[in-house]
């Protein structure tokens, strides 16, 4: 038996659930455009399908991965947030990618806080990074809202130079991290 249990998490406005095949059409349309340039795009539809398969395979192999985000109000797919650590990655990462219709609402921050809590409280991580393209201002703004700080430039073998942002640690959060001001 090969498989994985993917927990469902809930925030004020979002459900974080297992990726499923019906998410594909949203990701395919997003990855067909330049809007995906900071997150490995544009991609051909077959590459995007493969990415969906990879995300499930990551859960199976690592026991964590990307959740799909559903807007509670409408039940629609908004993007994904997750915990990512494939071979060759610099460190365990918290990642987020929103569909264009999901951007500008604070969804990434809200979901990433839940993913970060899962990484620290359930998986026992003691730190996490996010790899962010230098020109991706929206994503850097999410990192700042999460209390992360720019640490260094990392020359990723696949994506070239990217910024590494360091998240608040579990003890930062306990001792008056951003959560405390929220």
């Amino acid at each position: 038996m090969t498989g994985t249990t993917i927990p469902t998490l809930e925030t004020a406005r979002l459900i974080l659930r297992a990726p499923q095949e019906s998410d594909f059409e949203h990701e395919r349309d997003f990855y067909a455009t330049e809007a995906a340039r900071f997150v490995g795009g544009p991609k051909q539809p077959h590459e995007t399908w493969r990415m969906l398969a990879m995300m499930l395979g990551h859960w199976a192999l690592r026991g964590y991965g990307f959740w799909a985000l559903e807007d509670k109000a409408t039940g629609t797919y908004q993007g994904r947030v997750g915990l990512w650590f494939p071979y060759g990655w610099s460190e365990r990462e918290i990642g987020w990618t929103l569909m264009p219709h999901g951007q500008g609402k604070g969804f990434a921050t809200e979901a990433a806080e839940a993913a970060r809590a899962y990484a620290y409280d359930t998986l026992g991580w003691d730190t996490a990074i996010s790899q962010i393209a230098a020109a991706n201002d929206a994503s850097k703004a999410v990192a700042r809202r999460l209390g992360a700080h720019f640490e260094r430039i990392y020359d990723d073998p696949q994506y070239g130079p990217v910024e590494i942002w360091r998240h608040l640690s579990p003890s930062d959060l306990v001792n008056g991290g951003m959560e405390a001001y929220a």
């Binding site: 498989g3 927990p7 493969r50 969906l52 398969a53 990879m54 199976a60 192999l61 060759g88 696949q158």
Partner: protein, 175 residues
Amino acid sequence: MSLFSVDIPLIETERLILRAPREDDFAALAAFLASDRSRFVGGPMDAPQAFRSLLASLGHWLLRGYGMWTIALRQDDAPVGRVGFLYGEGWDEPELGWHVFSGYEGQGLAFEAALAARAHGAAQFGLTGVISYIDPANSRSLALARRLGAQFERDGAVIGKPAQVWRHPKLEALA
């Protein structure tokens, strides 16, 4: 909570075990995919991409209920290749695919594995009379398709790349 699980069956043949892909297959898989021998199956690629290939092959099982097995030797469980069914975006229909890692060619291992996988697909996955996409320059694979009783059907394409479409027999006809 949502449980994604699939029973990746273990199939034994005379010399081989077809089993679920595992992380400890990665070194052998990455070495094959880094080599020029992988040019007919999407390579060569670097190690991070090879890892993604391993992830995608597991995810394929979870999405479709079937996929590619690791071919391992019965005697020591060493991974020597992959065989199984692929049906992602960009495929016309489910495909039987195979590749054997360097150093294990010429022993009939791919034939033995493909025969077992094809029989299992027909019996358990409802996949019979499937196709194989083969690069016209891949003479080894063309020879294996013939040996498996497949027939050239047409010139087609998979994920946008030209490939010959070979049709396997319906297994009822094989008796």
